[in-house]
Symmetry: C2
Subunit: 438 residues, 2 copies
C-alpha cells in the first residue's frame, strides 16, 4: 500500500489559475479558508510538494479495504473478442461502496487532529454523505449531513447507512440555517437542491466553533487523497508485468478519475504514449461542451470563483440516474488537463452506458453504480477500437462504486423507461450569461 | 486458492444416516435423484472420497472474487479490550454479496456439463436466487426462480438483481404448476411460502427434460462446495502465523457454517483443542431445541426423510429479519456433528445480534446481513470470555454476507421496533406429532 500521496501540482504543464474573490476578482489567500477547513487541508490545497506522507492512523483505516484489487476482465475481453487487455480497479469494496472514503477518512483525520468535533457536509443521493459518516464514526467525530430533501424521501437506504454510522441527517432545506429558512419561506414544499444543501452545511460550519465543512470532490486536496488509487494501479500493473496504454474514468466533480490518472500524468508529459479518457453524461457535458473560464462552484454564489470547464452555476441538470455526474463544473486540475489536451473528454447517453454495465454484469458478474457505467462504456469502446486495428492495448478503468443502492435505475433501464437527454448548446450559453467574465 | 474441495464424509465420527423413502422407510438410492440433479452432483452427495478436484472453469469464475480476504478485526478487539485475536472471513465480496455463489457456480457448471439448459430453484428473500441467477448467467444457462410472493412484493431489489443477471422470476404460488394452482384455488391471495416455492421449482424441473432443480443449502454436495471457505481460512491463518482456537458461524441450512468448519473437523477429532460454535436465532432454535430425528425437508412432504435436528416440517417461524435462518431443519452433516458433541449450538435474540452488528459497523466499518450478525455476536461473546479469563484465543468467524439489501431491518432496530421471540417448546412438540417416528 502506498505510504505517500502524489501531488500533481509541480508536474502540471503550467501553474493552476488561482481561485478568485468574487468581489475583488483578486486571488484569495489560504487564510480565507480557515473558517471552513482545517489548516493541514488548506496547506495541501496549495502545496507544491510532490509527495505528501499519509499519516499512520489514516493508513490503518484505509487498510480495512486497501489495497483494492486490480482485476483483469478476461470474460469481458472474450465477449468483446478484443485483442486488448482490460483491467478494472475495484474501488467498490470499501464499506460505503465507492472511492469516496479515500478522502473522507483523510479529511476526518485532519479535522480531528485540529480539535474539530463535528463535520458538516451536503449530499445528493447519499454516496458522499455515507462515506463521511463512515469516516467520522471510525475516528470518533460527529457528522452532520444536509441531504437534498427529494433524495432524503426517495432514497431511504443511503440515509439508513448514514444512521448506522451515527450521523445526523437533515432533509435540506431545514429551518436550522438562515439560508434554509429563506428557501422555505419562498416555498415550504421545496424539494431542495445540492446548491442549497452546500450553503446550509457551510453556514452550519461557519457559525459553530467546533465544526468545519467538508467537500467530497473538486478541490485539490480531495484529488490528492484519491491518488492512492492510481499509485496502486501503477504498482499492480508492474507486478502483473503490464503497462497502461489507456486510462478511463467517469467524471462528475472529477475525483475518482483524477485519482486514477494523476500519478501517470508526468509519464505522459515526458513522452510516454498514454491516453486519459474522462467520461461524462451527454446530459451534463461539462468537459465536452462547457467553456473553460471562471465560475462559482455553487448555485448560491457562496464559493470563490474557480477556473474550470463550466455549464454555468445556474445549470440545472436533467434527473439522470448517475446523480454523482450532475455537476455544472469539474475539478480545476482536471479542467486544466483537458484544456491542455492531456485528457480526452467524452460524453455518452444513459441507455448506452446501462447497456455497457449490463454486459459487464453478464461477464464479470459485478453490478456497478450508474456513474461507473460511464467508465465501463469508455473502456469497452477503446477495446472495440483495438479489435478493428488489431492493437493489443492495455486499458485500465476505475470501477468507482457498486450499484447496490441504484437497482431502481436498472429496473427503469430493463423496463425501457430510461430517457436520453442532449443538453442544448443555447441553454448553456444562456446559463453562462450570468457568469462574470474575467 | 484451493484446487480441491474437502469431503468430510470419510472423517465423520460415524457414517451419516441415509435419506429414507417416506413410503417404505428404506434408504433411497442415488438413482431416485436423477430427475432432480445431474449425475456428478449425485455422486458428490454420496461420495466417500476425501478430496474432490475443482474443475478449471469453476475455478476461473470463483477467481472473480476468491480467495476472499481473511481480516484481523483489530478495531473490534480494541473496542472490546479483549486479549483475543478476532479474524473474519469476508464472503460478502462476491458479486451477489454472500457465500452462496460458491455452490451456485459449481452446481450450474455440472448441470451445463450434462446438457441441462435451465435450472429451477426457489428463493425466499432472494439471496440464493440471485446467487443462482449470477452463476447461470456466467455459464450461459437459463435460471427460473420461484420467489415467495410476499418477498417478491416487499423486497424488489433482490428481484432486480436476478433480472440484471437474466433470470426469470415468478411470484410463487404461480398457476404454472399443479402445486401452485392448488394453493391458488384454496386462496387466490396466498402470500406464498418457501415450502410451496420448493414444490413448484421441483415440479417444473421434473416436468421438463432440459431442466433440473438446485438447492442452496442442507445437502452434502452443497456443503462440499462451501469447504473452499474453510480451506482458505486454514491457509490464510498459516500465512499469518496463527492457528484457530474457536470457529464461529451462523446456521440456517448450515452451509456457510459447515464451509468454514468442516476442513478443521479431523483436527479436532485427532485431539486439537478447537471449538465450533453454530449460532441460530432463538425464534428458530433448530439445533438448540429441536430433537435429532428423521423429518421431511419441506412443508409439502415431497423430499426424502432426512436425519436432522428439526422443529417439525410444519414449523412456521416468526418473521425475523434474518430470513436465511428460518428453516425448520439443518444440514444432516451439521446435525450429526451437533449430536456427537463436536459442534456447540447457541441461540441469540434479534436485538442482541443487531447490537453486535452495530458495534462491528462502528469499528470495522462493514454493515452485515442480519444472518451474519449472529456469527458476530457469537464471536464477540467468545472474545469477552477471553477478557475475563485472560486467554489469548484465536477466534475466527465467517462473515457470510453484506446487509446492503437489508437496511430496512437496521431502520427497525434503530427505531426500537424489533421484537424478540422465544419459540415455545410445546409448539415444537405439537409440530413434531405430525412426523413419522423411525
Amino acid at each position: 500500500m502506498p505510504q505517500k500521496w502524489y501531488n500533481v501540482a509541480p508536474d502540471l504543464p503550467r501553474p493552476l489559475d488561482p481561485p478568485l474573490n468574487p468581489e475583488t476578482k483578486e486571488p484569495i489567500g489560504p487564510e480565507a479558508l480557515i473558517p471552513i477547513f482545517p489548516m493541514e487541508l488548506i496547506k495541501q490545497e496549495v502545496s507544491q510538494e510532490r509527495w505528501i506522507e499519509i499519516p499512520d492512523e489514516i493508513l490503518r483505516i484505509l487498510a480495512l479495504w486497501r489495497p483494492s484489487p486490480l482485476h483483469r476482465a478476461f470474460s469481458l475481453e472474450r465477449a468483446l473478442k478484443t485483442p486488448a487487455r482490460i483491467y478494472y480497479k475495484n474501488e467498490s469494496l470499501s464499506p460505503p461502496g465507492s472511492h469516496k472514503p479515500n478522502t473522507a477518512v483523510a479529511q476526518a483525520y485532519y479535522n480531528k487532529m485540529e480539535g474539530v468535533r463535528r463535520i458538516c457536509t451536503e449530499t445528493g443521493a447519499g454516496q458522499w454523505g455515507s462515506a463521511l459518516a463512515f469516516a467520522c464514526k471510525l475516528l470518533g467525530l460527529e457528522a452532520t449531513v444536509y441531504m437534498v430533501k427529494c433524495s432524503y424521501q426517495q432514497k431511504p437506504y443511503r440515509k439508513s447507512l448514514m444512521h448506522i454510522w451515527g450521523a445526523t441527517v437533515y432533509a435540506s432545506p431545514t429551518n436550522l440555517t438562515r439560508c434554509g429558512r429563506a428557501v422555505l419561506e419562498m416555498d415550504p414544499d421545496s424539494p431542495g437542491s445540492l446548491g442549497c444543501a452546500i450553503s446550509e452545511a457551510m453556514e452550519d460550519a461557519v457559525m459553530h466553533d467546533d465544526a468545519k465543512y467538508s467537500l467530497g470532490s473538486v478541490l485539490n486536496h480531495v484529488l490528492l487523497h484519491q491518488t492512492i488509487v492510481g499509485l496502486e494501479i501503477k504498482k499492480q500493473l508492474e507486478i502483473a508485468g503490464d503497462k497502461a496504454d489507456v486510462l478511463v474514468g467517469c467524471v462528475g466533480g472529477g475525483s475518482n478519475f483524477a485519482g486514477a490518472i494523476l500519478p501517470f500524468v508526468a509519464d505522459k508529459i515526458k513522452g510516454q504514449a498514454l491516453d486519459f479518457i474522462g467520461v461524462e453524461p451527454c446530459s451534463c457535458p461539462t468537459l465536452t461542451k462547457g467553456p473553460y473560464r471562471y465560475d462559482f462552484g455553487d448555485l448560491a454564489r457562496m464559493t470563490p470563483l474557480l477556473k474550470m470547464h463550466t455549464l454555468g452555476h445556474g445549470f440545472i441538470p436533467p434527473a439522470i440516474h448517475a446523480g454523482g455526474l450532475r455537476y455544472h463544473g469539474a475539478a480545476p486540475i482536471v479542467c486544466q488537463l483537458v484544456d491542455s489536451g492531456l485528457v480526452i473528454p467524452r460524453a455518452y447517453h444513459q441507455n448506452e452506458v446501462f447497456e455497457a454495465s449490463m454486459l459487464f454484469a453478464s461477464t464479470e458478474g459485478l453490478v456497478c453504480a450508474p456513474e461507473t457505467s460511464h467508465a465501463i462504456k469508455g473502456a469497452i469502446d477503446e477495446a472495440l477500437k483495438c479489435k478493428e486495428t488489431g492493437e493489443e492495448k492495455c486499458i485500465v478503468f476505475n470501477y468507482s462504486g457498486h450499484g447496490h443502492f441504484d437497482l431502481a435505475a436498472y429496473d427503469a433501464y430493463l423496463g425501457g423507461n430510461l430517457q436520453d437527454y442532449e443538453y442544448p448548446l443555447d441553454k448553456i450559453e444562456k446559463a453562462l450569461q450570468d457568469v462574470p467574465v474575467i
